[in-house]
Amino acid sequence: MSGLFEHEQVMGLMRTGHDEWFYFGEVSEDLINSVVSMVDTKPELQAVSRPARRRLLSALVECLQNMRNNTPVVPNDSIPNSIVFIRKINDYEYGLRCGNIMMTADVPKLEERIKEINSADQEQIKEMYMKQMGVVLGDGNRKSAGLGLLEIARSASGKIDYRFIDMDGGFTFFCVEVNVQLN
């Protein structure tokens, strides 16, 4: 695959020098279970409060499950379709950086949604969550469309940082980053 998207471009996005854990490849149920185990057993995370650990796990699980549920099949397996980085920023904050391939046609709607979430405060995000839950329940949707991003925003200590990198063939690489406070 050639064009605007380059493998190194994504690798560069993920290199910070202080990363604790990273993964390239497909997000599977096994991977999610491994991440859950890591959060459960990492000694330094045992020292933080249970609610703080739950917030970190919540952001992580929603990121990973969003990636698992929304990454299309890409006709080129030389490029990792998902990337996950978890890094310790300091004793009280972790950073999550996740990237996955998505359909370019879905970018405007997703970007509009993130901008809407980023312009809201926590109380407004809660209202958006309740409204969206009502929509999901009302139309019998078997998925939880749009709720994952709102849950990530509720767990995060700041705004959702994001980037879209154009690829060929109607695909875009979507990278999202959030920080989670552990105190």
Binding site: E29, V36, R54, V61, M133, G134, S144, L147
Partner: protein
């Protein structure tokens, strides 16, 4: 027809389900973060639907002792509880007790949101997580 107890053991990502028809105490306990929550909760939802239309009890207690729910689980739980609450139409008193860590206000908020959507009051019980 006698209703059978529904018991599903806990896993790393799903809670223990113990909906006991001998005691009429229905308990969810642990962590609920499965990737496919609808698949996990489908048997529970069916059980609740059947129970609500067939029980001869006058009251039941639902004990929700979850320390973490993902969005899929909230959605699936709402669906299952909606079915269970249909028992109210037959005069059954449904008491839902929502346990949360004493330090975890977010989990209490989650319970309040679910109660609001269900239009059914919950009782909130703050405990130390290691106690449940």
């Amino acid at each position: 027809m006698l209703m059978e107890t529904l018991f599903i053991p806990a896993t790393k990502t799903t809670p223990q389900v113990d909906f006991n028809t001998a005691t009429n105490v229905f308990e969810l306990k642990g962590r609920s973060i499965p990737a496919d929550a609808m698949m996990f909760y489908q048997p529970l939802e069916r059980w609740c639907e059947y129970y609500a239309t067939n029980t001869t009890q006058t009251s039941i207690a639902v004990e929700v002792k979850l320390d973490h729910l993902n969005t899929g689980s909230v959605r699936a739980l709402l669906s299952a509880f909606t079915k269970l609450l249909k028992a109210r139409d037959r005069g059954v008193k449904v008491q839902i007790n929502w346990y949360h860590d004493v330090e975890d206000e977010d989990m209490m908020d989650k319970g309040e949101e679910i109660a609001l959507i269900l239009d059914h009051p919950f009782k909130y019980i703050a405990v130390r997580s290691e106690d449940y």
